[in-house]
Subunit: 327 residues, 2 copies
């Protein structure tokens, strides 16, 4: 089993590499080789006995994309992306990475032209959906993204489905919920506050909440995201069917419910570290985002997420804080 | 008023040019200039007193796209496309024209960068939808095209909406029904038989029907298609709203109903010129196509089509046969 991961040095990428190394197998086959790409050469994974190719380059350059698939990886995890906030501010950069680099990778596979047809797991996003929404969004709700990020993800969903239909790749697109609680420092995603209002207080720091407490959203932990990716890699194509893009399960809750969960788990003092400072731009972006899904297909296909925001916080404390909270 | 038409030498393009010349105005403003592009330089329109720039070139070449919009046309009708059957057989050609050339044109407008924001009317297609379908397809049904043509059109719909949202163009995408009765010789569209079973018999020739009589489909005349384009050009943006891609009205009928209409209008002898010769490939492609829509938004916005297939046949006899039938 040879696995290619783009964006391997990102938050999800690193966790995916660590999980794969830990498992040692994927789809019941021993992992013998990892090809890891990112804008800078990704770090060497620890404790991995197989071969590792590390490629620090822009896969939006067709020659680099061709090089990335030259070793005919059996499974491709295409995670490389510019996040929503940055893709909105820098249209050309977002287009280059989210749209053109993804297309370059699909094209690199197509151009092999020798029957090579890897499982291609693409991380899409719930940002492919745009308001107005029904109470719960079903799998067949139409795609009307309200950001350039969501548009770029939706375009690649369409191409992934067509390349799969033509037998050029064996695609599965997974629409990730907002990943909460993201470890590390804030990134440029407009959704960053959903994590920081939990992460910073647990770390003994203040956090800024730029939206109303009533804002409702759809969450899953980084651990679940990695679980989705690994589950997607192993799904039989005939179970996926022709509609290869799937909304992942998650936890629907309001900001108030997030804060209540934080208070239950870490106490009033920690929850008091959240400072309200409304930001109209973030408020406007978030208002166009989906809030609640009915992800029947993904659930039927065996994808699993947390079932409460309390559980999401506990996962964060276990995975990122060694079980400890700064009270 | 300066108007750019891509694919100006195609069937719809020529009719649009003739109608615009005949009207002399668009959106209440005198038409002073036409820029017409196609793979070969489009013909000089007859009886037009304004300026005409004719450009025989590939707008998939970014430099050509930039040249096409250099004169800052007020309205762009982007009709250039590779039809469904050909785009399915020649993936690279379909991608180049339907996807990359459309994108090159959007990019050419964006790169003007001086506030230039033309009305951009894009001819999409009902092929953006794919089976399984509900009884009648509403405006918010999801896009799951089952052809590369439909995929390419759906991708441009998404980009058109995003470029419009960002204020880079003022887009309206119109999803054309199958255009019946197409004049002239058959093209490579898999839907060609819907026209040829009417056109050839009216011309005294035999026609081949490659599908079952029970096949149901969604039609509008070339005259209606041109009407949609002109109506789309003049729609106030605030009426269109953020969902800029609209399913056009049309006539839903079965092949049997098409033939019955032909018999009513032209008699048994003409209708007897249809020969049944099932073609499994065409049958399979057509089975994935949508059949009936509930195009509420377009109707509310004032788009109009025929109301029966009889009327579609009469329009063909008036517009293409000088009112005469070869009995």
């Amino acid at each position: 089993m040879h696995i290619l991961i783009t964006g391997a040095d990102g938050m999800i990428g690193r966790k995916l590499v660590a999980r794969l190394v830990d498992r040692g197998e994927l789809c019941g086959r021993k992992i013998e080789k990892l090809t890891l790409t990112d804008v800078s050469a990704p770090r060497q994974p620890e404790k991995f006995s197989g071969r590792v190719d590390r490629l620090g380059a822009d896969i939006g350059d067709p020659a680099t994309a061709i090089r990335a698939v030259a070793g005919r990886p059996d499974v491709i995890f295409h995670l490389a992306a510019i996040v929503s906030g940055e893709a909105e501010l820098d249209f050309e950069k977002g287009t280059h990475v989210n749209l053109d680099a993804s297309r370059a990778l699909l094209e690199a596979v197509r151009k092999c032209g020798d029957g090579y047809r890897p499982r291609f797991v693409f991380t899409s996003s719930i940002a492919v959906f745009g308001a107005p929404f029904p109470e719960a969004i079903l799998d067949d709700f139409h795609l009307t993204p309200l950001t350039s990020y969501g548009t770029q993800k939706a375009v690649i969903e369409l191409l992934l489905a067509d390349y799969t239909r033509r037998g050029l790749v064996d695609g599965v697109g997974i629409r990730l919920p907002t990943i909460s609680v993201r470890p590390g420092r804030p990134n440029k995603a407009a959704s960053g506050f959903f994590s920081s209002i939990i992460r910073e207080p647990l770390n003994g720091e203040d956090a800024v909440l730029p939206v109303e407490d009533s804002v409702m959203h759809w969450h899953a932990s980084p651990r679940s995201a990695v679980g989705f990716l690994i589950h997607a890699a192993a799904l039989p194509s005939e179970q996926v069917g022709s509609r290869v893009n799937l909304t992942m399960p998650g936890v629907c809750c309001t900001v108030a419910e997030q804060i209540a969960a934080l208070r239950r788990i870490a106490g009033d003092k920690v929850a008091a570290r959240i400072r309200r400072a409304p930001d109209p731009l973030i408020g406007r972006i978030v208002a166009g985002w989906p809030r609640r899904f009915d992800p029947r297909r993904a659930l039927a296909l065996g994808f699993e997420a947390e079932t409460s925001f309390d559980e999401i916080i506990r996962v964060h404390i276990e995975d990122e804080l060694n079980g400890k909270i700064a009270i």
